[in-house]
Symmetry: C2
DNA sequence: CCTATAATATGATAAACATCATACTATTGG
DNA sequence: CCAATAGTATGATGTTTATCATATTATAGG
């Protein structure tokens, strides 16, 4: 127990933080271990003192991404835990920020699902497990909101809403920063509001 | 004009065909030029007699994928060009097949959008152009169907439906061949039918 | 048949990569 | 202040990759 200075744990967190951003932004296949380590101010070799493999890192990083993003669902979570009727407004706010140009343009800060579901579907392993869990939690949150609003079939509805949100951001990113892309996001938001407006 | 035997053009088509399947199945980053060429029964070197670069191939291959997939929208297209009221049934059939486990499990034969929008969003270039065009056509087809069914805001509705379809397959692939994945697809189909049932 | 050339193959090059073995450095308990 | 060791760096290895230069093969016109 020579180094109780917490140094390794902090370095490990730093690597995970860099990885969680870089993986969302550029995709697992285009981010090298060396990229991540130098992003954390280190050199490549020390990596294997912290993680068993690149794939293991990706799995842990995905879990970290959902943690990171959870901060931005706090308004909705708070509304779900209150008895008043602020749920609809909180839900709309969440949808609006999810379907924003900012979310489209900053994948490194955004939801892992549109950024990574394609690649992770092919990778399997820990990455797929982490993504599945995050998807389950997001769907459950959406379902609770729809239950609170007393809609029928909240499960099917929640699943469909999540699919629409994720698909919209994935497609908007493929279109780039264009007018069509802005319109796609607005259309998807309007459609949701049309379906779930008061 | 020594080789008028159409041989080069046929080889080129063969390369494109292999590429269109392999790229959807494994993703552009995990398919090498050598893989594609040997899949076409050739060796790697001759590739550059047919395409200027791997990226150029990806762009052309995406266009080929949409061609490939168009065959499976023929029922809907036919209904749109008839005056009778078979549009809703054709639309539902299309949705059902899009949201099928078979589509999830065979990306190499399926829609390019869930398979490639993640990667292509990062690549830009010809690939992004091809994907954007295909997305526009798919959305337009959906919009015509919704117009025929006399829904308001067919543009926003069509965009939202496409996002939901694409997101559902992308997420279902991330979940793999599991019960949750099957449920996700069914939920998304039920939701659509609930919204657009007669 | 033979030769010019189109189509494909072979081989080379240089870069990028994950991973591992080993070396160095900084810290802390004695 | 010193030695044991935790944390990090350096350097190497073997593989894979896109791309290019050159060689080989096959065909068609004379």
């Amino acid at each position: 127990m020579r180094y109780p200075s917490e140094q390794k744990a902090e370095t490990r967190r730093r690597i995970l933080h860099v990885a969680s951003r870089e993986l969302r932004k550029r995709g697992p296949a285009h981010v090298s271990v060396g990229d991540i380590m130098s992003g954390a101010g280190l050199t490549h070799g020390g990596f294997y003192a912290h993680f068993g493999s690149k794939d293991a890192l990706v799995g842990e990083a995905i879990a970290a991404m959902f943690e990171d993003v959870r901060l931005r669902t706090s308004e909705l979570d708070a509304a779900l835990n209150r008895a008043d009727d602020g749920v609809r407004a909180a839900l709309f706010n969440y949808w609006r920020s999810y379907l924003s140009a900012d979310h489209r343009d900053r994948p490194e800060r955004g939801c892992p699902l549109p950024a990574l579901s394609g690649e992770v579907g092919r990778m399997g392993g820990a990455a797929a497990d982490a993504l599945s869990q995050g998807l389950g939690e997001m769907t459950a949150r959406m379902m609770r909101a729809l239950e609170r609003l007393e809609y029928s079939n909240p499960d099917a509805r929640a699943t469909a809403v999540v699919a629409q949100l994720v698909g919209a951001i994935a497609l908007a990113r493929a279109l780039g920063r264009t007018a069509e892309s802005d319109a796609l996001l607005n259309n998807c938001y309007e459609d949701l509001v049309g379906r779930y407006g008061s």
